[in-house]
Structure formats: structure tokens, C-alpha cells
């Protein structure tokens, strides 16, 4: 059995890791293609190390461009590789441009494809990720879902029952696998007290200078009570400079590796974010999470977990002040560290 995994951006790598490990344990033949859709990825390499993955076999170096140009480059460069490698499955992850491009290539070549983290929807088609998700799910031959509500969404979209496989959350596999190593790290960015950790990168938050300024104001207010640590996406730092937005009192640092970030979040009083993955990671760590978006594609983190959707940034300071860490973090169904094994079983790797 030959699997060709396609990843394109950092958030894909913690999803790949448990699937890769489980398939390696069953001696599957595996090829990892990194499309290189992030230009800032000195960190990508450290993510592979932190997650105990070998480096990617093939790097397509597509670089950062508009959505159309980036997707186009991935299509062009990936197609001959899929033709040459003859995989039994093309396996794609999450919701980046590489996810969409790879399933499209596979579908046109008649090669079966599997989407890990299928059935997530924010309901907001203004998010490019939402477009990537709905196309990946429509074209992939097997859909591995992280939660039962994702199964339900796919059924409503008319996907046949035999395409949908409930696998559970692969990202949580990676958290549980890496947590012991993260907890013995010497923290570089933590002060004496539990800090508030911030990540922001979505266009809806960082491309509108007024929205970004309102968020900055809220973060500055939070920093009056506690240290605020903000590992900032280069895109966000650029927008801050361009918009003349400053955050006095907020510790803005470069993006962190996987283990360092996990250690920082694990020790945090609360997290303020617009990332998808952090909403899930904070739930299993019992850390309160404030998601600054209008929607979430991961409602289980609100229903069962520590996540709160905050539409108005001015509500953040009071929310963070009142937040308490959970002593016994909840574990939604399938968030048990074995999702990668269920994916590999669902692919028929024996």
C-alpha cells in the first residue's frame, strides 16, 4: 500500500504526523510532498522535527502568491508527481490551497483521495479555507471526520454513507503525543505568572486596519493585568506596520515551533486566537479560549470545551479576567490519541 501525503502549510503537519506514524507502524510505503505554499517556513522544518517526522520527500517550493496563482502552481507541479508515483491514496489534510489542489489533481487522474479533517464548516464562504474545504470534501473518495457533527454536515450535503468515516481528531493525537516532551522544555517566553497567549492571522482580522486597531486596544487592556505573549504571523506583523497599529505592553515575538508553542499554551491563563487548531488544543489542555471570529467550524469546542466566540473585541478584557482554567479538561468523542490509527485502518492499510 502506497500513500502519498500532501501538506502545504504548518497547520497541516500536526495532522499528518499521527497518520504517518500509524501507517509506518504497519509498514506502508509513504511519500510526503510539501508544496511549500508558506514562504516563511524556516519553521516548517522544525515542525517536522518536533513531531518526529522525517523531512518531506519532495518539496514543490510553490511559494506565496495570490490564491489563484498558488493553487495553479500546486496543480501543475503536483500532477506529474502523482502520475509518476502511482499511489493507492493521495491523502490531504485540513483546508489550505494545497488540500484543494491535490484532491483536484487526484480526481482528474482517477487516483483515490482521502481528506483528513473532513466535514468542517464555518458557514462563511468569505473565508478562502471554507472554499477549500467544500471542494476537498466533494471530490475526495474518503472523508475522515473529527467529530459526529461533521458526519452530519456531510450527510446533509448528500455525501454517501460509505464515503464518511468517523476518525476523531488527529491534531489531538499530536498534542497528546508531544505533551510530555513540551512540559520539560525550558520556556523562553513565559514570565513568572500564567500569561495570555495571542495568535491572529485571518484576513478578516488583520487586513482591516480598524478591526486590527480594535483588537490591539483590547490586547493592551488585557496586558494591564497579565503578561500578553503574541507570537505573530509575519503577515500580521506586516499588517500592523502598514496600518500603524502598535501594542504597547504586549510581548510580540516571532512564530514558535510546535513544542514551544504547545508549552506556552499549556501554561497559559487563556488564549485569544482566530486559528482553528488552537480552539481544539485549548479544549484538551483545559485552557480558556477566546475566538475572535464571527463563526467557528469546530462547534464541539464551544459545546463541550473551553472555547467562547467573541465577536466584539471590547468584550475580551472582562472575559479574560473572569476566565478559569479547567482542572479536568473535557475529551470530546474521538479525541483520544488514536485518530491516526483509525484513519490508517479506514484506508485499508494492513
Amino acid at each position: 500500500m502506497r500513500l502519498l501525503h500532501v501538506v502545504g502549510a504548518r497547520p497541516n503537519i500536526p495532522k499528518l504526523a499521527p497518520v504517518y506514524r500509524a501507517a509506518a507502524a504497519r509498514r506502508a510505503d509513504q511519500i510526503v510532498v510539501h508544496t511549500g505554499q508558506h514562504y516563511d517556513d524556516a519553521l516548517s522544518a522544525s515542525f517536522f522535527r518536533d513531531l518526529e517526522l522525517p523531512p518531506p520527500d519532495i518539496n514543490l517550493d510553490v511559494g506565496s502568491h495570490t490564491h489563484a496563482v498558488q493553487t495553479a502552481r500546486i496543480l501543475e507541479r503536483l500532477e506529474p508527481i502523482v502520475v509518476a508515483e502511482h499511489p493507492d491514496w493521495v491523502v490531504v489534510y485540513g483546508d489550505v490551497n494545497s488540500t484543494l489542489a491535490a484532491v483536484l489533481v487526484a480526481a482528474k487522474l482517477g487516483v483515490p483521495s482521502a481528506h483528513v479533517e473532513a466535514g468542517l464548516r464555518s458557514g462563511d464562504r468569505g473565508m478562502p479555507e471554507e472554499i477549500n474545504r467544500i471542494i476537498a470534501d466533494r471530490l475526495a473518495s474518503r472523508l475522515f471526520t473529527p467529530s459526529r457533527d461533521a458526519d452530519e454536515i456531510l450527510r446533509r450535503e448528500g455525501e454517501p454513507e460509505d464515503k464518511i468515516v468517523f476518525a476523531g481528531n488527529v491534531m489531538i493525537d499530536s498534542v497528546l503525543h508531544a505533551l510530555p516532551r513540551a512540559r520539560v522544555l525550558e520556556p523562553r517566553w513565559r514570565g513568572t505568572d500564567r500569561p495570555v497567549v495571542v495568535t491572529l492571522h485571518r484576513p478578516s482580522n488583520v487586513d482591516d486596519p480598524r478591526r486590527l486597531a480594535a483588537l490591539a486596544e483590547a490586547l493592551v487592556a488585557v496586558s494591564a493585568d497579565r503578561q500578553v505573549v503574541f507570537p505573530a504571523h509575519p503577515r500580521t506583523q506586516e499588517r500592523m506596520r502598514a496600518g500603524g497599529v502598535s501594542m504597547p505592553g504586549v510581548t510580540v515575538i516571532p512564530p514558535l515551533g510546535y513544542l514551544e508553542m504547545l508549552a506556552l499554551v499549556d501554561g497559559a491563563h487563556a488564549v485569544i486566537t482566530d486559528s482553528g487548531g488552537l480552539q481544539e488544543e485549548t479544549t484538551v489542555l483545559g485552557v480558556p479560549c477566546f475566538t475572535v471570529r464571527a463563526t467557528t467550524e469546530r462547534p464541539v469546542t464551544v459545546r463541550e470545551g473551553t472555547n467562547v466566540i467573541v465577536r466584539n473585541p471590547s468584550e475580551i478584557p472582562a472575559g479574560v479576567r473572569a476566565a478559569r482554567r479547567r482542572v479536568n479538561p473535557p475529551r470530546p468523542e474521538g479525541w483520544d490519541g488514536r485518530a491516526g490509527e483509525r484513519v490508517v485502518a479506514g484506508l485499508g492499510v494492513i
Binding site: A68, T71, A72, E76, L78, E79, L104, G110, P128, L139
Partner: protein, 353 residues
């Protein structure tokens, strides 16, 4: 209101033409963008004149390539054009690579996309067109369907009823607009066929022409048919390459250069039957009341079968008997929406949403 039409290959033009004319009557601003994914010399000014439209305003010249390469080039070249023109609607047609690629780029730019001929499915994902259809229908904001079956298909795929609008078949609009002029082209006389005698053939699908055993089987069947009656076969360049490479004998089958839109209509109109693997010809022959034998195991136009004009003959061995048994329909069938007004309904939908 500004409409940007995206077309990419020859089968798109008879779908574009009635919509373009209806939008012109409605006084809308229009830009026709041809991606150039399929270029052939027959697509001259005369081709556009036959269809009653002007030549495309922009040609992106993407040319041919693998599906990945071609889709990639369309995406790269169309993005700056969509940004520049900022249309109120991007209108895409049918199921070619340009259809899917343009929809993908437009939706990511937050532009509204309307798909003409939405909800059409063969349910065969090994057809590249089926992948394009699935992608564009998932993305488009307005799904303009040719049949009630297509509406039901889209609803079963979870598309909201508010995005689905039944408009009817725009290809039939184009045909009804052109058929009288087709009958005075003299094409049937030039080829020398008596009315109601000849069989007109087209083949281009990979499933039929890339598989040599299958192509040989179909040609053997056509040679048998040609023993009894004239068989006219305007050969797609792709099919020509395959026939030449394999050295397949055509026998009495008359291999011809591809013909223009009007000439083709006239040849079909004069025919005893049509043998094809094209989607468009199934519709056109049904609309003319000429029996169609489709050499495939699926069809995306089930209404052509239920109205009695079309039959699927997957095994070419069955072709000679099928050709001998079919009769021209006494009256050309008119399924719902085959009334020549589909494009008017398309333009109404674009204006009111």
C-alpha cells in the same frame, strides 16, 4: 449591470450565444472572455456569425496541456482579468476546465458566479467533465438548470433551493435560433446525402477513442452500417490522431473534416440517425426529432432518453441493428424548458438577484 462570460472550448459557444443575445436585448454590459483552452481554425468569424454573436473580447490563449497544466494556466491568467473588470456576475457554461477554474478564482475573489447548465450529471467520475461539473456547482452562487432532474440532483447534493433556478436548455435556444438558416446552408446537398438516409457520427471521448480495442470495435460496427447506408463522420482532431496511429480501416465510412455549427445542424437534420458520444449532440438530435444512439454507458441528458429520441448503445456490436430499427420521430419532442426562451430566463435571474 456588468456580466463577464467565460468560455473555453467550442461546445461552450452555442450555450453562450443565446445568453449573450438576451443580455444584449436587456441592455447589460458584457465582456466575453475566451480562455483559449481549445483553439481551432473552424472557430473563425464565420463561426461566431453563425451563432449571432461577436467574437470574444479577450482571449487568454492558454492552449492545450494536461488537466493540471491547463486548469493552472486558466486560473493564473483569469485572476487579474476578474480583478480588473469587477463584474457583477461571472457567468460560466457547461463542464470544461475553464468552467471549474473560472468559478474557483471568482469565488475566492468574492465575485458572484452563475453556472449555466447546472446539475447535469453522468454519475461517472472517471469523466473529467463530471469533476468540473461537481466543482462548479459546489461553488456557484446561482445554479441555472436545464431540467427538473437537474434541480433534484442539486437538492440531493445539499444545495439550497434559493440558489437553484430552472431555466431550461440554452442549447435548444441556440438550435431553434439557427435551424432555419442551417437548412439553407446546402450542406446536405454538398455532401450528397438523401434526406432521412445517412448516419452522422461523432466520437471524441477518451473512453472511446483512447482505448484502441474499443475504437476498433466501434469502427467495425460503423463499417457494417456503411454497407447499407451512407455514414458521415466529421472527425475530431483528437480522434483523427488515434485512427491514424492505429491504422484503423474506415471502409465505406466517409471521414470528413470537422464542420461548422450550421452545417452540422443541417447534416443532422437530414440524417436517419446520429451516433455520438457527445453531450450536446444528444440534445440537438432530440430537439430535431432525429434518433440518437449514444455509444456510452451513461448519459447526463436522461430527458433525451425518456422522450424517446436517444438510446444508450454501449456495446458497439449492437449498433448496426439499432441503426436499422430506429425511426425518425413524427414530431420533435419538447421536454419542459426546450422552448427557445431559456436564455431570457437566465438573464431575468441575473438581473433580479
Amino acid at each position: 449591470m456588468k456580466i463577464l462570460h467565460v468560455v473555453g472550448a467550442r461546445p461552450n459557444f452555442p450555450k453562450l450565444a443565446p445568453v449573450y443575445r438576451a443580455a444584449r436585448v436587456a441592455g447589460l454590459d458584457q465582456i466575453v472572455m475566451h480562455t483559449g483552452q481549445h483553439y481551432d481554425d473552424a472557430m473563425s468569424d464565420a463561426f461566431f456569425r453563425d451563432l449571432g454573436i461577436r467574437p470574444p473580447d479577450v482571449n487568454l490563449g492558454v492552449g492545450s496541456g494536461t488537466h493540471g497544466q491547463q486548469t493552472a494556466r486558466i486560473m493564473e491568467r483569469i485572476e487579474p482579468e476578474l480583478v480588473k473588470h469587477q463584474p457583477d456576475w461571472v457567468v460560466v457554461y457547461g463542464d470544461v476546465n475553464s468552467t471549474a477554474a473560472a468559478a474557483l478564482v471568482a469565488v475566492k475573489l468574492g465575485q458572484r458566479v452563475a453556472h449555466v447548465e447546472a446539475g447535469v450529471r453522468s454519475n461517472d467520475r472517471s469523466m473529467p467533465e463530471e469533476i468540473n461539473r461537481i466543482v462548479v456547482d459546489r461553488l456557484a452562487d446561482l445554479l441555472l438548470t436545464p431540467s427538473r432532474t437537474a434541480d433534484a440532483t442539486l437538492r440531493a447534493e445539499g444545495e439550497p433551493a434559493s440558489e437553484i433556478a430552472f431555466v431550461g436548455n440554452v442549447m435548444v435556444d441556440a438550435l431553434l435560433f439557427a435551424v432555419e438558416r442551417a437548412r439553407v446552408t446546402g450542406a446536405r446537398k454538398r455532401v450528397g446525402v438523401e434526406n432521412g438516409k445517412a448516419v452522422v457520427v461523432t466520437l471524441h471521448r477518451p473512453a472511446n477513442v483512447d482505448n484502441l480495442l474499443r475504437l476498433e470495435g466501434i469502427m467495425r460496427a460503423l463499417r457494417v452500417v456503411a454497407a447499407d447506408r451512407p455514414v458521415l463522420f466529421p472527425v475530431h482532431p483528437r480522434t483523427r490522431t488515434r485512427l491514424d496511429a492505429a491504422g484503423i480501416d474506415a471502409g465505406k465510412v466517409k471521414l470528413m473534416e470537422p464542420v461548422g455549427y450550421l452545417e452540422m445542424l443541417d447534416l443532422m437534420d437530414a440524417a436517419h440517425a446520429v451516433v455520438t458520444d457527445s453531450g450536446g449532440l444528444q440534445v440537438e438530435s432530440a430537439a430535431l426529432g432525429v434518433p440518437c444512439l449514444t455509444v456510452r454507458d451513461t448519459t447526463e441528458w436522461p430527458e433525451t432518453v425518456t422522450c424517446g429520441a436517444n438510446r444508450l448503445v454501449f456495446d458497439p456490436v449492437g449498433l448496426p441493428a439499432a441503426v436499422a430499427s430506429v425511426r425518425r420521430l413524427a414530431q420533435a419532442p419538447r421536454p419542459e424548458g426546450w422552448d427557445g426562451m431559456a436564455a431570457v430566463r437566465v438573464v431575468d435571474c441575473l438581473r433580479t438577484r
